[in-house]
Amino acid sequence: MDNIKKLREEAETKILSAQNLEDLNKLYIEIFGKNSALANLTKNLSSLPPESRRQAGANINQAKQDLEKLYQTKRVSLVTNRKSTQIDVTAPGKKQQLGHLHLVSQAIEEIVEIFSKLGFSLQSYPEVDWDWYAFEALNMPKGHPARDDWETFFVDAPQNPKYGRQVLTPHTSNGQVREMEAVKTPPIRMINISRCYRRQIDVSHTPMFHQFEGLLVDKKVSITDLKGTFDFFTKTFFGPNRITRLRPHHFRFTEPSFEVDVTCGVCAGRGCRLCKEGWLELGGSGMVHPKVLEAGKIDPKTYTGFAFGWGIERTIAMKTELPDIRLLYQNDIRFLEQF
């Protein structure tokens, strides 16, 4: 009995004083091997009187188990190079420094992803563009209110005899005729995302914002296709329970024109303080006006199309319930690092 105790203490001391893995590995054979003192004790069990055999066997096994445990703990401590063999799973891990993407970028990525699946390619057009692309070609003739100095920013530059003044695009629709010119022969499936500018600043407007625009032109395009495209987008972007509806509206560059609504996420369409009778306005859309197709040198007798566009900031506000759109451009690091 004393033998076991002594053996055990010796082995413990050896294990605890091992300086490195190599030493510890050597000890394993010495302590637990076939010819170890412990193994010999087991072999000699038969020489003990039958009445004490059982107890001695149990003691040897206990010692073996305890030593095995101690050995493993020591091993972990040598491997991890840590004094304490206790880990605290709630303590902070050692992280790599990660940055953050702006909410607007995250929304853009999601939107592009969704429309990519429908075959839309992502294009980019000038943010400072000619009057022609921003207005004239979009069936917004001279004298149209959007062309006023107090709604749209103009650049201090000489006018072009053909294309007119230089404007900061107040919408992404300047990409429509540019895309028609680039592609020449439909089909066209284009997404255009860009910074836009309007001469307004108040609680819910910033003079710069992001808009995205979709354009599809082909031989057999109808309002039902526009509906299907929006349904696909809404369910993917906002969630499977949200539904869309089209309401009559008016834009110069589409006919018919629609406002697209999505059921309010807060009240699930029942109507609440944040929405209009259960609906939130997502953006504008419509069937491309024949005059716009003509401006893009596409025959409106053969081709029809639809276009849509809306502010990215608005969709973010709708999705995240962001109370104030201006937060997006204040660049407070505490805000940026939230996302």
């Binding site: 499936r189 406002e259 209009k276």
Partner: protein, 677 residues
Amino acid sequence: MNIKIPVSWLREYLKTDAAAKTIARELSLAGPSVERTEKRGEDYIFDIEVTTNRPDAFSVFGIAREANAILNFVGNKSKLQPPVGMDLNLEPDTKEKLALDVKVANPILCPRFTAIILSNIKIGPSPAYIKNRLEAVGIRAINNIVDITNYIMMETGNPMHAFDYDKILGAKMVLRASKTGEKLTTLDGKNYNLPEGSIVIEDQKRLIDLCGIMGGENSQITRRTKRAIFFVQAYDPKTIRRTTQTLAVRTEAAARFEKGIDLENILPVLSRAVYLAKKNAGAQIASELVDIYPKKQVSKTVTLNSVKLDKYLGIKIEPSKAAQILRLLGFKVETDIARLTAVAPAWRAQDIKEDVDLIEEIARIYGYHNLPSTLPEGQIPQRPDGILKDVIALKNSLKVLGLTEAMSYSIISKAMLNGSQVDPKDAVELQNPLTEEWQFMRPSLIPSLVDVVAKNQNLKQDIAIFEIAKTYIKRKDALPQQDLWLTIVKTGNDFYEIKGLTENILQILKRNVTFQKETRENRIFQKDESAIVNVEGQEVGTLGLLSHTLTDSFGINIQLLSLELNLTKVFGLKTTQKGFKPLSKYPPQIEDISAIFATQTPVTMITEEIKKASHLVKNVEVTDIFESEKIGKGKKSITLRITYQKSTGTPETEEVREARDKIIKMLQKEFLAQVRV
């Protein structure tokens, strides 16, 4: 434009059992949207958005007309009851007829001019229902005559005006364009210097009306008025709009005139006003009707092909159904097998021009919600994505590299512009900026990002931000240069840190990058601590330590590192094609050589020479560079890790020694290096 309408008022013209809620829903789905319904006592107030192409619906009766068509189509019983008194015979009631001498100088400014004189007026309060209704839509009741003008405008959408006849000098009215320097005090007591070309009315001596916007104070109805001129017109929308903008006045009347007025409805409106004046103020007609209407308004006849209609709607619509819808909306329609021909009602004459306009009418009343939802058929275009797709991927990489994305305004102030390297003459300036804060399109993102750091410097110690956006540089006779730039600004003072980051980024972008010392004067970067970034021999950006002048001007007293990279250029340059190289079967020998060089010796020159020194050298890496007093001034110690490898076997010790000796000799000879073995 939004209009508030009490449902009780609406029901005066819209005879239906449909509940307010039903009316609101059906209107929103197929016509003007009821954005909110507010319960007020027993009544409901609709807040309705009317689009700018539908001035005909910008009134209580106009909404009733829309609702009536829609309700009938969806199967709700409904009947339209026009206001009473719209077809009076406007003959004088008095024996003695008062004179009014009217001249319209230019019919383009005023396509229809009607007026009539009323006498025997007893000024007093309006009946309660008129006062209540005006109040419900936000108009203050004044007296029975003035209230009629406002009531008529809200009811029919046609603004009108009443003058005190006895204040019109010489009973004369000349409608003309204003001349430079003319002044008028309007009935709200404000004085205006009129812009040239506004529409005005002059009596014998003075201006009495700023037409379409507000009447003059000198001719207004007062408690003492006995005789009045009722006055209903239409004006040139563009001219009205220009005047309201120049003078920055908004009135309910102007909002309607600048959208266009149904010329055919002008006389009925005048008749209705006279009817109310007789009823509410005991008025009598005291003159002949003046009606100057040189060019009659005509609705266009539009033909719609049924194949086109079906193509737009995506379903088959029976021509009889389409015709039914148009008739409900007041169109005159004829159909045959392949097409329908429609003439718009007078109130839509200015809005309905071509077949797609008819398609819209048919589709909306049919109900967009009744159309199925399908995904577009047809081929997917073979069109590659533009660089924005690559930018999305790049942003994700930058995030993983520990950078946080900022987004700042592209329009900047003059002060911010001075924080860029670009000559202000080359900057794109706005012609009509909102404020001085937003005056120029930025030619560089650096000042904006430094500004972001300045705003956050008390919130966080280590800041590492980036932004990807266009910059703008003026070009002669062309749109501005609008390249997309990546700009990084981070706290720190180690040139090699921002250089390493740049190397990481260009590796992610799969481009070969080289760096070159900046030799030009630069206000933004510290000349001695910055470099030019080259890809394929083209300059694509700058990196390094930002200058103190710049950081100081933003009140920052820590060091900032920055990279600006022209992504438009970089994405246009070829990517590195990495082909497969066979893996050597034999392990290499790797050794370090440390040596002391003159500080100005470029490291790449050393590594290039080592590679040339022996064919056994497969790779040279710089593992350490340091300067210290121990080594001496103007000197640096470099540790070079050299990989010796052969394709036929592991290099022998003897071979490696030979190669090493060659290298050491070369270093001593070419670079005067002291090799420390």
